[in-house]
C-alpha cells in the first residue's frame, strides 16, 4: 500500500489536469462534428473517437471531469463544514445540547445515504449541478460528523486543553481554539475519502438519469448513454468508466496517504 501512495498523487494530478486544462484544449462537447462521423474509433482528430451523436469523446470526458470534480469538491466542502461543526458540538462538550447533537448524528448515520439522497432528489426534481452538489453534501455530513465527534471527545481530555482551562479559557474558547484545530486532520482525511464516495454517487445518479442531465456530459451519464451501444462500441463505456475508477482510486489513495502522514500512530 505504501508504494501506491505516490501513484495516488500522480493519478490525482492527471485527473485534475484533465479537468482544468482539458476543456480549454478540446472541442465543444455538445455539438456534433461537422462531418457527422458517428461512433468512430480513435483518430488523429478525435483521440478517443466520437460517440453516437458524433461528439468528441475526449472533449466530453474533459468537461465531464470538470463538472464531476467541481460537484464533488463543493459537496465535500458543504459536508465538511456541517459535519465538523455538529461533530464538535456533540463531542466537545457536556450537557443536554451535546447529547442531543450526538443522537442526531447517530440517527443521521442510521439512514442509508442512498435512500435520503433519492428522497431529496425526488422531492426537488431535476437538479442543476449546484443543487446536486448541495444534496450530496447534505447527505455526506454524518460520516464526517461521527469522526469529528470521536476526535473531539478524545481531545477534550487532552492535557493541552486542560492547560488552557486552568489559564482561564472559557468553554467556547477551549472548543474553538483548541479542540477544533485538533479535529481538523481527521476531518480532512474523511473529506478526502468522502470525495471518492461523492464521485461515485454523482456518477451513479447521473447513470440513473436523475443527476446531471444530458446533453451536459458527466461520466455517469456518458456511461448511461453507452449502455445502448455496448455491443457495437464498448469503448464508449470503457473510457468514462476508466476515468471514474482512476479518479476514485486517486482520491482513496490520497486519503490513505494523508492518514499515514497525519496520524501515523493510528494506522
Amino acid at each position: 500500500m505504501t508504494r501506491a501512495r505516490p501513484l495516488g498523487i500522480a493519478l490525482a494530478l492527471v485527473v485534475v489536469m484533465l479537468a482544468v486544462l482539458g476543456p480549454l484544449l478540446t472541442a465543444d462537447p455538445l455539438t456534433a462534428t461537422v462531418d457527422g462521423l458517428v461512433l468512430q474509433g480513435p483518430t488523429a482528430r478525435h483521440w478517443l473517437g466520437t460517440d453516437q451523436f458524433g461528439r468528441d469523446v475526449l472533449a466530453r470526458l474533459a468537461h465531464g471531469a470538470r463538472l464531476s470534480l467541481g460537484i464533488a469538491g463543493l459537496a465535500i466542502g458543504i459536508a465538511l463544514v456541517i459535519g465538523s461543526f455538529l461533530g464538535l458540538l456533540a463531542g466537545g462538550r457536556d450537557g443536554l445540547g451535546a447529547r442531543l447533537c450526538s443522537r442526531a448524528i447517530d440517527l443521521a448515520l442510521s439512514l442509508p445515504r442512498v435512500v435520503v439522497l433519492l428522497v431529496l432528489v425526488a422531492a426537488t426534481g431535476t437538479l442543476g449541478p449546484l443543487a446536486l452538489a448541495a444534496v450530496l453534501g447534505l447527505t455526506g455530513w454524518p460520516a464526517i460528523a461521527r469522526l469529528t465527534r470521536g476526535e473531539a471527545e478524545r481531545l477534550r481530555h487532552a492535557p493541552y486543553v486542560l492547560a488552557a482551562r486552568t489559564l482561564g479559557a472559557s468553554p467556547r474558547r477551549q472548543l474553538l481554539a483548541h479542540v477544533l484545530p485538533g479535529t481538523l486532520p481527521a476531518a480532512l482525511i474523511a473529506a478526502t475519502l468522502g470525495v471518492a464516495d461523492v464521485l461515485l454517487l454523482e456518477a451513479g445518479l447521473s447513470y440513473l438519469g436523475i443527476g446531471v442531465q444530458p446533453p451536459t456530459p458527466t461520466w455517469g451519464n456518458m456511461i448511461l448513454e453507452a449502455q445502448g451501444h455496448l455491443a457495437t462500441a464498448p469503448r464508449l463505456l470503457l473510457i468514462p468508466a476508466l476515468a471514474l475508477v482512476t479518479a476514485t482510486a486517486a482520491a482513496t489513495l490520497l486519503g490513505d496517504a494523508l492518514r499515514a502522514r497525519l496520524s501515523p500512530h493510528r494506522r
Binding site: 442509508p112 433519492l118 431529496l120 432528489v121 463505456l237 475508477v245 476514485t248
Partner: protein, 323 residues
C-alpha cells in the same frame, strides 16, 4: 441477555420511526408548495388533487401530517403511488421478493466465500494467492457497482452470450414448465447480478476477516492447541477462524447500507424487478409517495438486519453472552 435484546429492539424501532419522520419532514421542508413537489408536472384532475391535498395534509401542521403518516403506516397503508395509482404497499410486496433473493444470496456468498478467503489469507499471509486476493477484491471494491454490472453484461451477455442481460426470469418461459426448468431459469438470470453484487462488496468481509484472523493466528491459545497435538486443520477452524468471527459479524450491520446502495444501482443495470430499481424509477418519476414508502421499508429492513447481526454477535461471544 433478554434485557439487552429488548433494549436493542426498542432502539431499532425508535430508529425506524425517527427515520420515517425524517423522510416525511424532508419532503415537506423543501421550498415551495409541497403539493407541487408531489404532483410535479403531472396532469391530475381536481378531485384527485383534493384527495392528495387532504392526504398529504396541505395546510395542516407538520406534526399532524407526520402522525397521520405513522398511524397509517402501522396499519400497512403507505400511501398511493402517483404513477401507478395503486397502493404503495401492494407494489412493494410484489417487488420485495427479487431484492431479498439478490440481497440474500449476496449476503450468503460474501459471508461464506468472503470469510473463507479472509481466513485463508491470514493463514498464508505472504503467499502470492493471498496478495492476489487482496488486490483483486480491492480493485473491484473501488469500481462502482453499476460499472462492474455493465462490464459483466458486456462480458457475459454480449461477448460470450451465456447469460441474459437483464430481468429476473424469462417472460417467454412456458407456464407449464416444470419446477426444475423454472429454477434453472431463475438461477440463470441471477448469475450476473449476483456476481456483480459480490464483486462490489466482498472486499470488506475479506479484509475484516483477514485482519481479525491475523490477530488470532498469533494468539497464545493457538500455540497451546498445537502443543497438545491438535491437527492443523482443526487449529485453523476452531482456534483461528472461530474466535475471529465475532468482530466480523459486527461488520454485518455496517455492511447492510452498502448492500442497499449496491442493490439500487445493480438492479437498475440488470432491470432486476426489486425494490432497488423501484426506488430509482420512482425517484425519476418524482412519485413521492412511492419513494417515501419504499424508503421507509428499506430503512426497516436495514434496521432489522442490523438488529439480527448484533444479536448474533452477542450470542457468538461468550464474554458478552454471560455478562
Amino acid at each position: 441477555m433478554i434485557g439487552w435484546v429488548l433494549r436493542r429492539t426498542a432502539a431499532a424501532v425508535a430508529l425506524v420511526v425517527l427515520g420515517t419522520i425524517v423522510l416525511v419532514v424532508l419532503v415537506h421542508l423543501l421550498p415551495g408548495d409541497p403539493l407541487t413537489a408531489i404532483i410535479g408536472d403531472r396532469a391530475i384532475d381536481p378531485a384527485a388533487r383534493d384527495a392528495l391535498a387532504a392526504r398529504w395534509g396541505i395546510g395542516r401542521p407538520l406534526p399532524t401530517v407526520v402522525a397521520d403518516f405513522l398511524r397509517n403506516a402501522l396499519h400497512g397503508d403507505l400511501g398511493t403511488s402517483l404513477a401507478e395509482q395503486r397502493p404503495v404497499a401492494t407494489i412493494l410486496r410484489e417487488r420485495l421478493g427479487p431484492t431479498i433473493l439478490l440481497g440474500g444470496t449476496t449476503l450468503l456468498v460474501n459471508f461464506t466465500v468472503g470469510l473463507f478467503l479472509g481466513t485463508w489469507s491470514a493463514l498464508h499471509p505472504e503467499s502470492r494467492r493471498a496478495r492476489a486476493i487482496g488486490a483483486i477484491s480491492l480493485a473491484t471494491y473501488t469500481i462502482p457497482a453499476f460499472v462492474i454490472g455493465l462490464g459483466l453484461v458486456w462480458l457475459g451477455a454480449i461477448a460470450l452470450p451465456w447469460f441474459p442481460a437483464g430481468g429476473a426470469s424469462d417472460p417467454l418461459l412456458d407456464p407449464e414448465a416444470g419446477l426444475v426448468a423454472v429454477l434453472l431459469d431463475r438461477a440463470h438470470h441471477l448469475a450476473l447480478p449476483l456476481l456483480t453484487m459480490v464483486l462490489a462488496t466482498i472486499a470488506v468481509p475479506i479484509r475484516q476477516q483477514r485482519s481479525a484472523a491475523l490477530e488470532t493466528a498469533h494468539a497464545a491459545w493457538v500455540v497451546a492447541a498445537r502443543a497438545r497435538g491438535v491437527a492443523p486443520r482443526r487449529v485453523a477452524w476452531q482456534h483461528v477462524w472461530r474466535p475471529a468471527l465475532s468482530p466480523v459479524i459486527t461488520l454485518l450491520g455496517l455492511w447492510l447500507p452498502m448492500l442497499v446502495s449496491g442493490a439500487v444501482f445493480v438492479e437498475a443495470v440488470f432491470a432486476w424487478p426489486g425494490i432497488g430499481s423501484l426506488l430509482a424509477t420512482a425517484t425519476a418519476q418524482r412519485d413521492i409517495p412511492l419513494v417515501i414508502g419504499t424508503g421507509v421499508v428499506v430503512i426497516l429492513l436495514v434496521q432489522v438486519g442490523s438488529l439480527l447481526a448484533d444479536i448474533l454477535q452477542r450470542l457468538l461471544d461468550p464474554v458478552q453472552r454471560t455478562a
